[in-house]
Structures are given as structure tokens and as C-alpha cells.
């Protein structure tokens, strides 16, 4: 029968009709993930996020044993002891090994950073009865209760921070480990000195009102790009020798630097300690692999263990001599850095360019083929997905949605200004298509020089609806780098090395010469401290609310800002007051942040990261002492931009231009939630659910006027010009405030998940959004349901200002799968990406999913364990995100064909 079937392709050929693209995912049958991947993913899906005390125990013991030593050396010894005492866990079928802890999705508390939580709860924890009490931010974050999160205690497992399970027998250890840090943790010390900042009371009121989402000490590192150059170029044994050479050279020498010159010697002593610790950590894995090989009866598995033992023994001492060893080395360093501080967003950077020389040699030598490389890359995805961050529920759920943002960037430009795309990067995308995991998320640095077939490959991956890769504009990123880091000496070469740190934080980088395979390759890597710390998430609409309520938070009854007692005769006067409040906020929060981060860098200097970041080793300075090449990285993070802009447009039109209502009437309507029940009362946070009260008719007219006021995203100059003014205002205002590095602040526009909890505390807004519901997501996504003129109109609205003025901009689009179905669907998806990039749009990412499917998944999470969605700058399992964010994702405007 089938022999009689005529294919469309045949007829097209006969008729001479071109069929442009054949790489379409619908045509290309994606091969199944490898057997090893499938087996390990099966394990992964059933894992509980677990915290244990092994690392904190050894940190504590070593730290206190070395009391009195120079801080950086003392800390390096403590970190080295942690790493070298982690029980090595190797699972059957693993090829790449190492975990943060002995548990696979493991993490641990950092009492030396924050002990108050455990000390305050010591008795309760010991009684194993009460759930941990919640700080204000904790109580408004709902960590998704599905998946691997341990949201409640059960049996011998105690839930910590509503996210991690800890064995009951380790609770006394947690309590005992935390006690000595009472009064001297980073949190306690910074609180002591922050209290001396002028405006501290004001800052506290701002934090209590959740206008600012969280403190900087909570995750002092991350939102940056790691640099793997040192260990790849030298290997651990040689680094130890280099440390010894440097100690011999500089100990006792100040050079020309009377302040930091002498500390170089201690820096190299510390680097030697930590390198020995990293080496021992790898050795332990080599030993464990050897032991497993010795008891293994299956020949293939035994050979696999033997291979792991060989790789780990080499990585422990030598510079990598194969792709396998090189990727294992990067994994070791990555886990080493994430183990030294609570952190999220330690990005991998441009791994496919860094490891290309190893790939090239192995392929040329016939050591491995592409399928074997893809297998390692698939397994790598599981390793990165297992990286957990131990933070309070406020940070884990409210900010991160449980994700740790280990972003991997692709594309961009090379040192020479040509396309940086490598053959290995195609395989990285392929592995992401075969093994669909939330991490590492992928980001394409879109450049006009990027090969079309690579863009098509990446688009066909985006099309699968996994949320990755997201698309970033390489030229806009480079322009931002030159603009912002120019004063620190950024040149065109280094500008080309930028990529994404965290979900969307443009991070400066540099190229360094890797000697491998008889040639020199300039490989990119990060060259700065965190690019996502500072004034953490200011809820812009909440500040506007307080302008209308004379500084009083009507939700809590507290006076947050000094009463302005102004009546605003003009729109400009009202905006002026908003700016005054924002500046006051920036001033007081920045000061406290500076104290927190200064305490962190002096008390708790980064060690592993200060080994890796250029030019720390060259200068003999850690990251805290500005050892990195670029340091103007600390910023101001905004949240709810479009909710704020739309609210201004509504007030401008209804109150000032058309004078339909007075500002008092507007404020009254907002305080009364336009006469509807609040989300707090109904428990439903979706913006489209409204339940009337007897008061509703009173506010009917003003509510309609607010809902129907001009909205961003429709190519309407009335509202888009407000957005433009806002951007110029922040661009000029923020540099007036300086970070603890003495560098100007700048704007970072990642909402991550904070638009959930910050929306939660915000009353109704003048755009018609009701109290408690989420803000609009991202910084340039239209408010859900308000974009009525299509995607091209959103692009037009979004690009009314130059995106290279700020660190980033965020645009989330939700497409119905039918919109890009068909033989040319991938091409059309790429067309729309390119359209936005051509306009200078910095970032666009897609959820390609049917809202009905999401609703079903919300009702039956167990049937959708592997469903992933793009939230803000990251992909996460649907069942592991909180309900308010789920509601918001469902409600985003969906584009179909």
C-alpha cells in the first residue's frame, strides 16, 4: 500500500516549488536521550531537595580552629576543609560526577552568613513541632508545592525554609553549628553597622513594606559569569606551584601599594589552600569511583567507574587533556564556587567556545564522536539542574522560584570580531533538545554575523516550548559594555566577551589565551564580581501607591515614607513626588546594601571565585578588594515597570488631561480595590478574576476608565512616551549613587519572580490591576491582555528608547503552538526574533504553550512532572513554581496564528 503513497516533496520537486527549510523540528525527529541520561533523569524526577550538615560542620570546625589567622587564609582553610570532606556520591550510569553535597539535589545552610534564623528557631527545631516562623517576605512567598520541594516535615525529615528536607538527626548539629555565629554572622554584623547609616529607620520601613524585596547579604555572589581559564590552562598542581612562586616573589613586598600591596602574600597563601582543597575533593571522587569499580559485577559499569576514576585523578592534578576532563574540570570549579556562598545565577558563560579546542582535538584524534560528546552534554544538563540554593523561603520562592540560573550563552562574537559560534555549540543545543531540563538555560547572543543554520537550530529548540534558548542582542550588549565599563578601560575586544550572568544580567568578560592542542585559542570568560547585587527589586507601582496615599501603606496602616502633604496640580508634580520617593529609597537602601556587602567582602571574602576571576591572580587581590578587571557591577533592580507606566498613563489621561476624575477619587478607588473583593479574600491571583461587592457600582465608571486607558504595547505614543521619559530619568538619576566599590549604580530590569510577592503587597493600581495580583512580568512585556495590536506593535512600543542604556530589558512572549506550526514554523519564529533584534530589542523569550494545558497541569500537577515553562529569565518545572506566578503565566496574552 505504502509504495503507492506519493509524497508532497516529490510533487514540489517536480513542480519546481522551493521548500526552504528542512531543519524544522517537526521534520527532524529528535533522537531520544541516551540510556544513561534516561536512567538518571528517572532518578532526578524523584529526588527531594535536601540540606545536610557535612559542609557546615567542617567549615565551622576549621574556621574556629584557625581563630586569629589572617581572614582570607582562615576562610580559605575553612572552604578547603569543606570541599575535601564532602562525601563523594557517584550514581550508576553517571559519567560526569560531583555534586554540591553528598546528596544529589543537595544544599546546606550557611550559618556564618545567616544564623539568626536557626538560632531563633533552635528550640522549635529541637522540639520538631513548629514550622519555622516567617519573615515578612517569607510569608508572602509561596514555594511551589510540587516536584522535589520539601514544603512540609514528614517522618524523619524536617522541612527547612519550605524547600529543603533535612534528616532529623542532623537538626541538633544545625543548632550547634549556628550558635557560635550569633552576633558575628554576616547578617548580624551588617545589621549592627547598617543601623548606623543615616536613614536606617527609613530603610527598615521600606523593607517591611516589601517595596524592596530582600537584603544583599542573602545572596552576595552570583548573577555573574564564572571564568574557567586558570584550571584549564594550568591544572591544580601547577596553580599550587604558581602560588608558591608568587609567595616567594611578593611576601614582604608592598610594591607601590601601601594599602593592599602587603596583602598579596596572604592572597596567594589562601589560593594555595583552596587549590589543595579542590584537588583533594576530586581525589575523593577518584577513590570512590575506584571503590565502586572494585565491587561492580557488570563489566560495562565497571569500565565506566574506572574511566571516572581516571578522569578524576587527572583533574585532581593535571590540566585537562580531553573534552571529558575539561568539562569535568569546569563542573568541579562551578560547584566549588557555588559552595562558598549562598548564591544563584553563577553563569557558565560561553562553554561551547571555551571547550571547543578539546572537542576539536578529540574528534580529530577519534577519541570520541559527536554522539558521545552529546551524551556528556546531556548528562551535564542533569548536573547543572541539580544545583540548589539554600536561602530563606523569601529568596528561594519569591525571587528565584527555586531556580539557580546557571545560564549558558551561545553565539556572540569572538576575540577577532567574527562570529564566535563553534561546532560544539550546535551539540549543546542538540543536547538541550534531547534532554529537556530546566538548567542550564540557554541564551543566544544574537549577532548579524551568527550563521543562519545555527540560528535555525537554536530556533528549532526554542520552538519545542522548553523556554530556551532565550534571545539576547549581542550588539546592544556590547554597546552597554562599552558605555558602562568604558571608564574602567573596557575596549572592543573585552566588550565582545560579554554574556549573561544569572538570568539576564549582562556581565563583563574578557578573552584569555588557552594553550592546547599545539595552538592558542582566545577563550571568553567572566571578569567581574556579581552583576546582580545592590538595591534589590524596587516595586515601582508600590512607590506610586504611596505617593497617592501620602506615604502611608493602607494595607498595613504604617507610615512608610515621610508624608509629602502635597496636592498635585499637574501630572509632572505627581511624577516629581514619585521620583523623590524613589531617590530616597535608593539612597537609604544603597547605604545599607553597601554596609552589607562590605561586611561580606571583608569578613567572608570569596575564595574559589577569587582564584578564577581575572585579574585577581595577576594582581594578588581577591574579588572583594577589586581584584576583578571590572567592578562597576552593582545595580538597582526594578520590578513592575509596565504596571507603573500604565498606571501613570491612566492617571495622566483620566485625572490631568481629560479631568474625568480627581486624583482623590482615583486614590479612593484604588484603596477600595475598585469595589471588588481582593485576591487576599478570594485566594485567586489571576488578573482576570473579579468578584464584586455592594460597593462595585460606585466605582464602575472609574474602573472602566482605568481599564480602557492607553496601555503600553500598542504602539501608542501617549503611553510609550511615558516609558521613554522613565528610562531617561533612571539613566541619569542612578549614577548619583555609588556602590561599595565606589562605582555608579545603573539599572537592572529583571523581575525574576518578584512581580508575584511585590504585586501581592500592592493595592489596586490605576491601570485597572486589582490588589494583590501580580505586576506585569519582565520590564517590557505588555500587561496581560492589554496588548491588542499584535506583536509588531509591542516591538514598536518596546524600542522607544535605546536598550543599551541599561544592563538589560526583558520581553516575554507567549505563543500558542499553532502560531509556529507548519513546515516553515521555525523560519517564522526566527523572523520574529530577528525583527525585534533589528530594532535593538535586548531580549526576547518565548513560552510556546497552550494555556489550556497549563490549566490542566495546575489541576493535576502529578501528571505534568516534566512540564517546563519560561517564567522570567529562566525555565522552571511548572510544578515547582508558586501559584501566583502560575496564574500570571496562564493569563499572559497568547498569540496564535
Amino acid at each position: 500500500m505504502n509504495s503507492n503513497v506519493i509524497s508532497l516533496e516529490d510533487v514540489l520537486k517536480r513542480r519546481g516549488i522551493p521548500l526552504a527549510d528542512v531543519v524544522d523540528a517537526q521534520e527532524y525527529k529528535i533522537p531520544e536521550a541516551k540510556e544513561s541520561t534516561q536512567r538518571l533523569m528517572e532518578v532526578y524526577y524523584n529526588l527531594k531537595a535536601t540540606a545536610d550538615m557535612e559542609v557546615p560542620y567542617w567549615y565551622n570546625r576549621t574556621w574556629w580552629e584557625n581563630e586569629g589567622d589572617v581572614t582570607i587564609v582562615r576562610r580559605a582553610k575553612a572552604m578547603a576543609a569543606c570541599l575535601s570532606h564532602i562525601t563523594p556520591t557517584i550514581l550508576p550510569y553517571e559519567k560526569l560526577v560531583m555534586n554540591k553535597t553528598k546528596n544529589v539535589r543537595g544544599a546546606f545552610p550557611f550559618p556564618w552568613v545567616c544564623a539568626s534564623f536557626f538560632n531563633a528557631q533552635a528550640e522549635a527545631l529541637m522540639n520538631e513541632v513548629d514550622a519555622p516562623a516567617e519573615s515578612e517576605a517569607d510569608s508572602v512567598s509561596v514555594v511551589g508545592n510540587g516536584g522535589g520541594n520539601v514544603t512540609q516535615s514528614y517522618g524523619s525529615v524536617i522541612s527547612i525554609a519550605k524547600k529543603f528536607g533535612m534528616r532529623k538527626e542532623e537538626i541538633p548539629v544545625l543548632v550547634k553549628t549556628s550558635r557560635p555565629w550569633d552576633g558575628c554572622s554576616i547578617e548580624d554584623l551588617s545589621a549592627k553597622y547598617a543601623a548606623l547609616t543615616p536613614g536606617f529607620d527609613q530603610e527598615q520601613r521600606i523593607m517591611d513594606a516589601v517595596i524592596c524585596m530582600f537584603d544583599s547579604w542573602a545572596i552576595p555572589q552570583g548573577r555573574e559569569v564564572i571564568n574557567y581559564y586558570m584550571p584549564l590552562e594550568y591544572g591544580f598542581d601547577r596553580i599550587i606551584e604558581l602560588c608558591e612562586e608568587k609567595i616567594a616573589e611578593v611576601m614582604g613586598e608592598a610594591g607601590d601599594d601601601g594599602i593592599l600591596g602587603m596583602s598579596r602574600g596572604y592572597y596567594y597563601v589562601a589560593m594555595k589552600e583552596i587549590t589543595q582543597g579542590l584537588s583533594a575533593w576530586c581525589e575523593n571522587y577518584a577513590k570512590q569511583a575506584g571503590y565502586l569499580a572494585s565491587i561492580e559485577t557488570d563489566a560495562a559499569l565497571r569500565a565506566n567507574y574506572q574511566k571516572i576514576a581516571e578522569v578524576m585523578a587527572n583533574v585532581a592534578h593535571k590540566k585537562p587533556a580531553s573534552f571529558w576532563e575539561a568539562i569535568q574540570m569546569t563542573l568541579c570549579c562551578h560547584l566549588g564556587v557555588v559552595n562558598e556562598d549562598p548564591q544563584s545565577g553563577l553563569s557558565i558563560g560561553r562553554l561551547g567556545q571555551i571547550l571547543q579546542p578539546y572537542y576539536e582535538k578529540d574528534i580529530a584524534d577519534g577519541v570520541m564522536d559527536d554522539e558521545q560528546i552529546i551524551e556528556l552534554l546531556e548528562l551535564y544538563r542533569i548536573k547543572i539542574s541539580c544545583i540548589e540554593c539554600f536561602a530563606s523561603a523569601g529568596v528561594s520562592g519569591g525571587v528565584l522560584s527555586g531556580n539557580t540560573f546557571n545560564n549558558l550563552s551561545l553565539g556572540g562574537q569572538s576575540y577577532d570580531g567574527l562570529t564566535a559560534v563553534t561546532p560544539l555549540e550546535y551539540l549543546i543545543v542538540e543536547a538541550g533538545m534531547r534532554n529537556k531540563t530546566p538548567q542550564p538555560t540557554l541564551s543566544v547572543l544574537y549577532d548579524e554575523k551568527t550563521p543562519e543554520d545555527f540560528l535555525m537550530k537554536a530556533a528549532s529548540c526554542t520552538k519545542l516550548g522548553l523556554g530556551y534558548p532565550a534571545w539576547m542582542n549581542n550588539q546592544t550588549g556590547m554597546n552597554f559594555m562599552l558605555r558602562h565599563y568604558g571608564p574602567e578601560g573596557m575596549d572592543l575586544h573585552d566588550a565582545r566577551a560579554w554574556c549573561l550572568g544569572g538570568c539576564l544580567e549582562s556581565a563583563p568578560g574578557c578573552f584569555l589565551p588557552l594553550h592546547y592542542n599545539g595552538k592558542v585559542t582566545m577563550i571568553p570568560g567572566g571578569a567581574s564580581p556579581t552583576c546582580g547585587t545592590g538595591v534589590h527589586f524596587i516595586g515601582l507601582p508600590k512607590v506610586l501607591e504611596l505617593v497617592l496615599t501620602n506615604g502611608q501603606d493602607k494595607r498595613t496602616g504604617k507610615q512608610v515614607y515621610p508624608a509629602h502633604n502635597r496636592t498635585f496640580a499637574s501630572y509632572e508634580e505627581m511624577v516629581d513626588q514619585w521620583e523623590k520617593y524613589v531617590e530616597l529609597t535608593t539612597d537609604v537602601v544603597n547605604k545599607v546594601n553597601n554596609v552589607q556587602m562590605d561586611i561580606w567582602r571583608t569578613k567572608n571574602p570569596p575564595i574559589v571565585n577569587s582564584l578564577l576571576k581575572p585579574d585577581c591572580f595577576a594582581k594578588g587581590r581577591d574579588i572583594g578588594m577589586m581584584g576583578s578587571r571590572y567592578n562597576a557591577t552593582i545595580n538597582f533592580e526594578s520590578c513592575g515597570t509596565i504596571t507603573y507606566i500604565n498606571s501613570l498613563a491612566s492617571i495622566k489621561k483620566n485625572v490631568y488631561d481629560e479631568k474625568t476624575f480627581s486624583l482623590e477619587e482615583m486614590a479612593d478607588a484604588l484603596v477600595h480595590n475598585f469595589g471588588f473583593e481582593t485576591a487576599y479574600q478570594t485566594g485567586v491571583f489571576s488578573p482576570d478574576v473579579r468578584t464584586g461587592t455592594p460597593d462595585s457600582p460606585k466605582f464602575e465608571k472609574i474602573f472602566a476608565a482605568c481599564v480602557n486607558a492607553p496601555k503600553y504595547g500598542n504602539a501608542d505614543a501617549y503611553v510609550d512616551s511615558i516609558l521613554k521619559d522613565y528610562h531617561y530619568y533612571l539613566y541619569e538619576m542612578l549614577p548619583n549613587y555609588k556602590s561599595y566599590y565606589g562605582k555608579p549604580l545603573y539599572l537592572c530590569q529583571i523581575s525574576v519572580s518578584t512581580h508575584g510577592p511585590q504585586g501581592f503587597v500592592t493595592l489596586a493600581t490605576a491601570d485597572g490591576r486589582l490588589a494583590g495580583t501580580t505586576y506585569s512580568d519582565g520590564s517590557l512585556s505588555a500587561a496581560a491582555g492589554s496588548d491588542k495590536n499584535g506583536i509588531y506593535a509591542i516591538f514598536e512600543s518596546a524600542t522607544v528608547y535605546d536598550h543599551s542604556m541599561h544592563q538589560n530589558a526583558q520581553m516575554n512572549l507567549k505563543l500558542h503552538p499553532t502560531a509556529i506550526r507548519g513546515l516553515n514554523g521555525t523560519r517564522k519564529l526566527l523572523d520574529i526574533v530577528r525583527a525585534y533584534m533589528r530594532k535593538g530589542g535586548f531580549h526576547v523569550q518565548f513560552n510556546i504553550v497552550d494555556s489550556n494545558e497549563l490549566r490542566q497541569a495546575q489541576a493535576k500537577p502529578e501528571a505534568y512532572r516534566d512540564l517546563m515553562v519560561r517564567v522570567a529569565g529562566f525555565t522552571q518545572y511548572w510544578c515547582e513554581i508558586g501559584k501566583p506566578i502560575q496564574d500570571e503565566v496562564i493569563y499572559r496574552t497568547e498569540y496564535d496564528a
Binding site: V43, L47, A49, M53, S84, P88, G165, V173
Partner: protein, 86 residues
Amino acid sequence: MKHFDCKKYINLDCEKGICALCKAVVQIDGEGSEACKGFTPAEKCGICVHFVEPDKYGIGTCRGLGKADWAYASMNACTCSGYRAE
């Protein structure tokens, strides 16, 4: 004797692990947590000669590494240079 205390137990999370020999997922607690006759004790502080005077929570004193310090019985000691089995 529990799977959890066996050298062939591979850690997964706070409630379970894998047996390196049979590759089965084994629970830490409750039903199915009892080890088989292939049990080999894992190195843990609780069975180290240098670990003394544990209290009711299993917190005792470690004298195996220079300066004595507290330690806890359930901690793995496979990476410890001072570990000596009882």
C-alpha cells in the same frame, strides 16, 4: 543494620539512596530500610575509635584530628584522615 549505614549505600536525598550492588532504590527509614547480608559498614564517626561520649542526639567528641572538637555520630567519615574503625 540499615542500608543507610552500609558502605554500598549511595546517597540520593533525605529519604533514600541506591544500593551500589543491586541498583535498587532503598529507603532510609521504615519498611525496606533493613540491610541485606552483604552489609559492609560505612565509615561513620559513630563507629570511629576516636569518637567518644555521644549524648542522646549522637553529638560526642572527636579526638582523631589534632585538637579535639565535637562531632556527630551519623556523619560520614570516608574522607577523614583520622578515621579508625572500632
